[in-house]
């Protein structure tokens, strides 16, 4: 199944998602709303469960190894790979584990945009999102992460569908 190729969203090498955030600001301004200024993503409240999960996933290093597999699968996926056109793989391979690390209270610095900002204009469907979840599961299988640990991570990421799914 060949998905229609989307026009390139960014120039290669530019910081990804910046153009999107900018577009969102402009759009919000045009609509007369409060401009959605890019806000730094702050760490959510976490506890011992998140700490244990962060350990089980091999801390930042383990997350980095997982992201290496995951990002490669994302970019080459015939279903949803087109969403990532023009984004440098190296950038994603840093941003994704930084973001997850932050969510699990691992204390990493994440300098990317929020999930809402970075996916605002992509018109990602529920079907697209589920495909992404499946690729993450495949990647965790490839990294031999136990199924119970996988589910705990997914449970913390799945609610983000509300910020990511745009149609």
């Amino acid at each position: 199944m060949s998905a229609p190729r989307q026009p390139r969203l960014h120039q290669p090498g530019l910081r990804p998602w910046l153009a999107l955030a900018l577009a969102a600001c402009v759009a919000a301004g045009l609509l007369g709303g409060t401009p959605a200024a890019a806000q730094p993503v702050t760490a959510p409240a976490t506890g011992p469960e998140e700490a244990a999960l962060f350990q089980a996933l091999g801390q930042r290093e383990g997350l980095g190894q997982l992201a290496d597999v995951f990002v490669d699968r994302l970019l080459t996926d015939p279903r949803i790979g087109h969403f990532f056109q023009g984004i440098r793989p190296d950038h994603l391979k840093k941003q994704v584990p930084d973001f997850i690390c932050l969510q699990l209270g691992g204390g990493c610095a994440y300098d990317g945009d929020s999930m809402k900002q970075s996916h605002a204009d992509l018109k990602i469907s529920r079907a697209d999102f589920l495909r992404l979840v499946e690729l993450l599961q495949d990647s965790m299988d490839a990294r031999r992460i136990p199924f119970a640990v996988q589910n705990q991570l997914l449970a913390r990421l799945a609610p983000m569908h509300r910020d990511i799914i745009g149609r």
Binding site: M1, R79, S125, N151, L154, A155, A158, P159
Partner: protein, 308 residues
């Protein structure tokens, strides 16, 4: 002359069901082989044809069709207990994880019970047309909220009781019945546990195989049903179910001879891929016409589902 007699009622029913089946398949444009939903999150084909567990419909839609997609499933189920055998097949189409239309045909072989009633070879046939609307919530992705997925469903049933029809008529049991149910389904994602609760308003005697209601009680009864499943792996679920049933034919002219019990099962569902799933279960169907066979009917349930 045989050639000039109209086909027996069950043949007419079969023909009508076959027509409906063709309509269902036509309604699902096969343009997208929808495989976007996560493995097993569409449940399996329940005994009434709607997606769910083995005995109970869940607030999920069958197939792997997700947002804006069509999906279709077909299934074949066999239940074998000490004295009876149920053979069944059916199809379902689902759209947008919102609507599901299902059709199931049950063929119940009464075995020695039929013979004891003077009706050797008696088979009870039931067609079940189902419509389910998933009206709120998300069973899978809202893992930070307690709100389950909710679905409202209707199951329109028609029984062809063959030679038993006059007896059922004498008992005041009708040949048609409608179930209305509300299901709430939640996947506790972090724990890998799925919980379903269903409330079903039904008049069905033995799930419709002995007609609907009786001369003593014709109203719908509100019956609770519960399913619990543990995802052992992405492709493997183990669970238990319990389903309460009305007891409209007890007492009857046969005393407690038509008493019925709740149903329960323990199941394993395995999906080696997104196009096939196999469900095996141990079922307890309680007593079925205890006037003839006082023992509980327990046995094996085996179901094969293919998804498009």
């Amino acid at each position: 002359m045989r050639l000039h007699t109209p086909p027996p009622p069950h043949r007419r029913g079969r023909r009508r069901a076959a027509g409906l089946l063709a309509l269902l398949l036509l309604a699902a444009p096969a343009t997208h082989a929808a495989t976007d939903k996560l493995l097993l999150t569409g449940g399996v084909s329940s005994i009434d044809g709607a997606a769910g567990g083995g005995l109970t419909p869940w607030a999920v839609t069958g197939s792997y069709g997700s947002s804006g997609q069509w999906g279709a499933t077909a299934f074949r189920t066999t239940v074998v207990t000490q004295d009876h055998r149920l053979q069944e097949f059916g199809v379902a189409v689902a759209w947008n994880e919102t609507l599901e239309l299902s059709l199931a045909q049950q063929d119940f072989h009464t075995g020695a019970t039929g013979t004891a009633l003077g009706l050797p070879g008696l088979r009870l046939r039931q067609d079940i047309l189902g419509l389910k609307w998933q009206l709120a919530g998300d069973a899978v992705l809202d893992s930070d909220r307690a709100m389950p997925a909710l679905a409202l469903g209707v199951l329109a049933r028609q029984l062809d009781a063959g030679g038993l029809a006059p007896t059922l008529q004498a008992l005041g049991a009708r040949r048609h019945g409608v179930d209305v149910y509300l299901s709430a389904t939640k996947l506790l994602l972090a724990q890998g546990i799925l919980v379903n609760g269903t409330l079903r308003a039904t008049q069905a005697n033995q799930n419709g195989l002995l007609g609907f209601g009786s001369s003593k009680r014709s109203a719908h009864s509100l019956m609770p049903e519960i399913s619990l499943a543990w995802l052992a792996r992405r492709d493997l679920a183990l669970g238990v179910e319990w389903r309460r049933k009305p007891d409209n034919l007890n007492p009857s002219i046969l005393g407690a001879g038509l008493r019925e019990d709740d149903w329960a099962d323990v199941f394993v569902a395995w999906a080696p891929g997104k196009h096939v799933s196999i469900t095996a279960a141990w079922v307890d169907l309680g007593r079925i016409v205890p006037a003839v066979h006082p023992r509980r009917q327990t046995g094996a349930y085996l179901s094969l589902q293919v998804a498009l």
